[in-house]
């Protein structure tokens, strides 16, 4: 059956979707052990109960990332200087004393009218958190301090267009149809 997007939503399909959706709106009785686990983790000593997650996928060397044009790793620590109350949540503190912290440059060459921003696992996909700066010839860049790990990311061009990094591997999560790239920052 050939379907045309301009025929949707037709009344039947829309009504069917709403009916099914209303059935699925019933609460799913997940237990409160989720909160208990999170609170237990956050109460552990360490920077705001930070839970380290081991990368599940093969790491690549930072040098390889550089060679591939994925990112430039300068290997400098960054001191954020944020002050928080004891026990309060904090962004992962990226201190110069932590040798694993790398500074990674993300770059995209594209014609953009107003702005290019970077969203990814490192900034909770917040489109306002990490704007890129325009350089020359349509090149937009930004640098971020990152700990070793695997990060999915993408660029948002002019607030609406999502663009995968053409120089980086495609993320496995592309199953969901969002153009997403992946970078793995290696330990030193």
């Amino acid at each position: 059956m050939t379907m045309r997007i301009d025929e949707f939503p037709d009344a039947d399909a829309d009504e069917f979707g709403r009916r099914l959706g209303s059935e699925l709106q019933a609460p799913v009785p997940l237990s409160d052990r989720v909160e208990q686990r999170v609170l237990a983790s956050l109460r552990q000593p360490g920077p705001a109960g930070r839970t380290e997650r081991r990368p599940r996928h093969r790491q690549i060397l930072a040098g390889a990332a550089l060679a591939a044009g994925v990112a430039l790793v300068f290997g400098l620590g960054v001191l954020t200087g944020r002050r928080t109350a004891p026990g309060a949540p904090a962004e992962p503190a990226l201190a110069a004393s932590q040798p694993d912290v790398r500074v990674v440059e993300f770059a995209l060459r594209i014609a953009a009218d107003s702005a290019v921003t970077l969203v990814g696992d490192f900034n909770d996909w917040d489109p306002r958190a990490t704007p890129l700066r325009p350089a020359s010839d349509g090149l937009w860049t930004v640098t971020l301090p990152l700990r070793p790990g695997r990060y999915r990311y993408t660029f948002i061009v002019d607030g609406t267009r999502w663009r995968r990094d053409p120089a980086a591997p495609r993320a496995l999560e592309d199953d969901f149809g969002t153009p997403t790239s992946v970078i793995t920052v290696a330990s030193r």
């Binding site: 959706g21 989720v34 999170v38 109960g49 958190a129 999502w162 496995l172």
Partner: protein, 187 residues
Amino acid sequence: MALAASLLEVSASDAELVQRVRLGDLDAYGLLMTRYRLRFGRYAFHLLGNESDAEEALQDAFTRAYRSLARCREPERFAAWLFRILVNCCRTTGSRRGRENARRAPIEAAGAVGVAHPAERAMYREEIGRALAGLPAEQREAFLLKYVEELSYEEMVGLTGVGESALKMRVMRACARLRELLGDHAD
């Protein structure tokens, strides 16, 4: 007094609770998690198809959100901010599980299931769950965002990074496939 204090906590706005968390009150974060566990757990459960993966995604989202709370610029919109994190955590968990295990076995086309009797409702929901498992991940996501979370296409675009036309196509295909699987013939 304890009851009054408890009622005050329950009625506190998201913004008030976020502020308390930022000042180091971890119990306030517990209240926020309790507030959104069932609502957002529902999305995770229907997308991922089982309780264990849903809890993992939810736990990951709550932990990430806590660690990033300093970046939550609009505490009064904490729920929307948290949901964005959860959607991405579900994608990660779903992709990983999709490669590690088979999901619930998709059902073949089934006969129409009556839902008039309340006793059949749970069974119908299970049928729907199995039918959802038969959809490609991106169609399942689009269907749930549209008809369960009741987001507008504009909101879905902002959340997923997928264009509106593509999202409409996904929803349309999801509806068509679900009708096949559930044996629902509205005409």
